[in-house]
């Protein structure tokens, strides 16, 4: 987190806490993370415990969010679903960042041969649709939540590379970059202290939109057998399973769906808040 260090983490936090929607985002995101961590404590029932006598039960005092097609408690499943989805969402994006940011920066800043190599490899990766990539990775890596995160992360890498590269191309022409070079900064310093912080806004947007995409993408991977292993739920898996019962039990769609919306909302609002908190010109 060079960035936060560069601008003073305490200052950023203070500003974030004063940002109205940012706080809402922070609270939502924190709540999700908390639910993810504490799912076993919070869940009123075992998310895998079936009850074949009470399938597709409507929300009721005993099962607050109803029960699913196997009679499992939907509330508990949502809690555990958050756990899987948030994990995949956050980890995949982090992974993608770790790979894409350095490559994109280097390609955009140095251009020339490095750029050619990075960009062509990116093109190659992009040529494989997510599904093809996912099936391949599923085959190579085997099934686990972490592997799902890796597969999604890999598929997000080329996008992020191109976004970061575009920013680096633009920012490399700035005079303060020249100033830093003139002061004897190494490429890494220039990139991480000057170029990256100034492309943070574009990056934040990409990251915050990537999280819901990862959550939805995970459903597909789980379906292919790469993601969470049933009966462990994830929000995406719950949503795709509920599709069949849409007419009979709409609540099976509504609650996981709403939770995804909340996650999207939370991370995006947090992103907005961070953006403003990190922006020295921010007025609020």
């Amino acid at each position: 987190m060079t960035l936060v260090a560069a601008t003073g983490s305490r200052r950023v936090l203070r500003r974030l806490l004063r940002h109205r929607t940012g706080v809402v985002g922070l609270v939502l995101a924190a709540a999700l993370v908390l639910v993810a961590l504490a799912a076993p404590l919070l869940a009123p029932a075992d998310p895998a415990a079936v009850d074949f006598d009470h399938v597709l039960g409507q929300p009721s005092p005993t099962a607050l969010l109803g029960t699913d097609e196997l009679g499992r408690d939907q509330l508990s499943r949502v809690f555990f679903g958050v756990r899987a989805s948030v994990f995949v969402g956050v980890v995949s994006v982090l992974l993608a960042l770790v790979v894409a940011v350095p490559l994109g920066l280097v390609a955009g800043y140095y251009r020339g041969a490095v750029d050619a190599v990075v960009s062509r490899v990116t093109d190659t990766l992009l040529a494989f649709p997510f599904l093809v990539l996912a099936v391949g990775l599923a085959a190579v890596l085997g099934a686990s939540m972490l592997n799902a995160a890796i597969a999604i992360g890999v598929s997000q890498v080329p996008n992020l590379i191109r976004v970061v590269r575009g920013e680096a191309l633009r920012l490399a022409t700035e005079e303060y970059v020249a100033a830093s070079v003139a002061a004897g900064a190494r490429g890494g310093t220039v990139l991480f202290r000057h170029v990256l912080p100034n492309s943070i806004n574009a990056l934040l947007v990409q990251v915050t939109v990537a999280i819901p995409q990862a959550i939805i993408g995970e459903a597909l991977l789980s379906f292919l057998g790469l993601g969470v292993q049933p009966p462990t739920p994830s929000l995406g898996v719950m949503l795709s399973a509920a599709q069949t019962y849409f007419a009979q039990a709409p609540w099976l769609v509504v609650f996981p769906g709403l939770t995804i919306v909340l996650a999207t909302l939370g991370f995006n609002l947090l992103g907005d808040g961070l953006r403003d908190a990190l922006d020295p010109k921010g007025s609020r």
């Binding site: 005079e175 303060y176 070079v181 003139a182 900064a185 020295p280």
Partner: protein
């Protein structure tokens, strides 16, 4: 006297992280039709902020009270629509920093045409013609080629003149010019001042001229307002002000004005050259910006590089710092050929080179605090860390007359002059062997400039560093430099000991340059001007 534009008890306060800053504290003054009012004052005294408040261009962090009125109509209470009709048409503004104030992605022709067509029903073609005309008017050479160029392809002075042309596009009633000649050499400056004078005469334009150059004040102003720490401390006719300054600060200000008086030659220096440039050529797409420049700077020596705006001074500086790779020629640093050295090999050498960029605004990372920007070179070369680092940063800030409170601020929260001083502090942080200073005092008022120059001399004596000093202020050159090189259209036309070049100029351009340097004395300046007018 009816005032065209009047400021009444104007107060501007900025709400920032570090609390509130009172930038302007109850300023009251006005400018009459056809009047040229100079606003002078210490760097950071609120000049630019005052000017910008008139057109409602302050950032949202600013809280403005009091009133600014155009012909008695309050500008602060105007609706966005009404204000838009005033902007550019009735009141035009030239911003202090031309580098960042031009849109980087449009050609300057486009930007001029826009300024013209926003308020008049000119056809696109006619507007284009007019744009060329305007560029010509402000003395930009080859205007037809220039209209197709982008801001980054112009020199600092050229950009500044584009800003001027843009402001004049609609012949406004009031022109607010914030340091309009900082990047211009004196010959061009003289032309611009003549142009302003002419506009005033022809159109009765009122001009509010913010400047720190007392020579310019003496040359053109009718009246002067002196701002000090956000307050108007003195208002007077120009002659009276120079003759009998009433306020303490004004007195100090005038006393600090450097005067060009060509001091005696110093003993010939025999120091070995630290920097040696041979036949340097830099061409941009066929256009030779620098065309066979050779020069050398000895140890402990200050070489002043003067010359017309756009003559290639900054380009020479950039080449020497190896920020661009020259098209041809050789650059030898401390006996080492660095012309084609790789970035990695160059890096250790960079420690010994400090650079002050011509445009302080864009050379500071907007996301780093001032303290971090200044500390960067120290961190990079692991010179200091932790508390020691903080102490050194504070000392540097202090040396350039900025309080240590500035440390936590961001570049956009500073005034132009303050940013320039940050840039100087950063360049000096490593106590370099060679300093490349590109117009380092252009945005400084004379009192601060005085302090900075003294610091320079001080450091130079102490550290015996060499300096490539790019400037258009001949008085400053006279004060600092041992030798002077005169650049004209990419070539060195004259080079030698300061006393020789300034005292006995050989090349016609040098002579013109010296003749054009304004004298900070309104009476004498008027005489010189009249003499020149009758002479030509």
């Amino acid at each position: 006297m009816t005032e065209l534009l009047s400021f009444t008890d104007l107060r501007v306060r900025f709400h920032t992280e570090q609390g509130t800053t009172d930038a302007v504290r109850g300023a009251t003054f006005g400018v009459a039709p056809g009047e040229i009012l100079a606003v002078v004052g210490e760097s950071g005294s609120g000049k630019s902020v005052t000017a910008m408040s008139a057109l409602g261009l302050l950032p949202p962090t600013a809280e403005v009270t009091g009133d600014v009125a155009l012909r008695g109509t309050s500008l602060l209470e105007m609706s966005a629509r009404e204000l838009r009709r005033v902007r550019g048409r009735k009141i035009a503004m030239i911003f202090q920093e031309p580098m960042t104030s031009l849109n980087p992605v449009f050609t300057i022709g486009w930007q001029l045409v826009e300024a013209i067509r926003l308020h008049t029903d000119t056809t696109a073609a006619a507007a284009r013609e007019r744009a060329v005309e305007l560029l010509d008017l402000v003395g930009v050479p080859e205007p037809r080629r220039r209209v197709r160029q982008y801001p980054h392809q112009l020199s600092g002075g050229q950009r500044q003149r584009v800003m001027i042309a843009m402001a004049l596009a609609c012949e406004p009633e009031v022109l607010i010019a914030d340091e309009p000649t900082t990047a211009l050499d004196v010959t061009v400056q003289a032309e611009i001042l003549a142009l302003l004078r002419d506009l005033r005469e022809r159109l009765g334009m009122a001009i509010l001229l913010i400047t720190h150059d007392m020579g310019v004040v003496a040359d053109i102003a009718d009246r002067v307002v002196v701002l000090y720490r956000g307050e108007v401390v003195e208002q007077a006719e120009v002659d009276r002000l120079f003759r009998a300054p009433a306020h303490d600060y004004t007195e100090r200000l005038l006393a600090a004005v450097p005067r060009l008086r060509v001091r005696q030659a110093e003993p010939e220096s025999t120091a070995e050259p630290v920097l040696h440039v041979e036949d340097l050529v830099m061409s941009y797409g066929g256009h030779r910006a620098v065309d066979g420049v050779s020069l050398h700077v000895g140890r402990g020596e200050v070489l002043a590089l003067v010359g017309e705006s756009g003559s290639g001074k900054s380009t020479v500086g950039r080449c020497v710092a190896r920020l661009v790779e020259p098209t041809a020629g050789r650059i030898v640093l401390d006996g080492r050929d660095v012309t084609h050295l790789s970035a990695r090999r160059l890096r250790p050498l960079r420690r010994g080179i400090g650079i002050v960029f011509q445009d302080p605004g864009s050379s500071l990372n907007p996301r780093l605090t001032i303290g971090d920007s200044i500390a960067e070179p120290l961190r990079l070369h692991r010179v200091a860390r932790g508390r020691e680092l903080a102490a050194r940063v504070d000392a540097l800030l202090d040396a350039v007359e900025l309080g240590s409170a500035t440390r936590r601020r961001f570049p956009h929260e500073l005034s132009g002059g303050q940013r320039q001083r940050v840039s100087i502090a950063r360049a000096l942080a490593l106590e370099p062997q060679l300093l490349i200073a590109d117009e380092p005092t252009s945005a400084l008022d004379v009192s601060v400039q005085d302090a900075v120059l003294r610091l320079f001399q001080d450091l130079q004596r102490r550290l015996n560093f060499s300096c490539l000093f790019i400037s258009h202020d001949l008085a400053v050159v006279d004060l600092l430099a041992r030798r002077v090189a005169v650049l004209h259209r990419g070539r060195i036309v004259e080079q030698g000991e300061r006393a020789d070049v300034l005292g006995d100029p050989q090349h016609p351009y040098t002579r013109r340059l010296l003749a054009a340097a304004p004298v900070p004395d309104p009476v004498r300046q008027r005489e010189r001007r009249e003499a020149a007018a009758s002479g030509s």
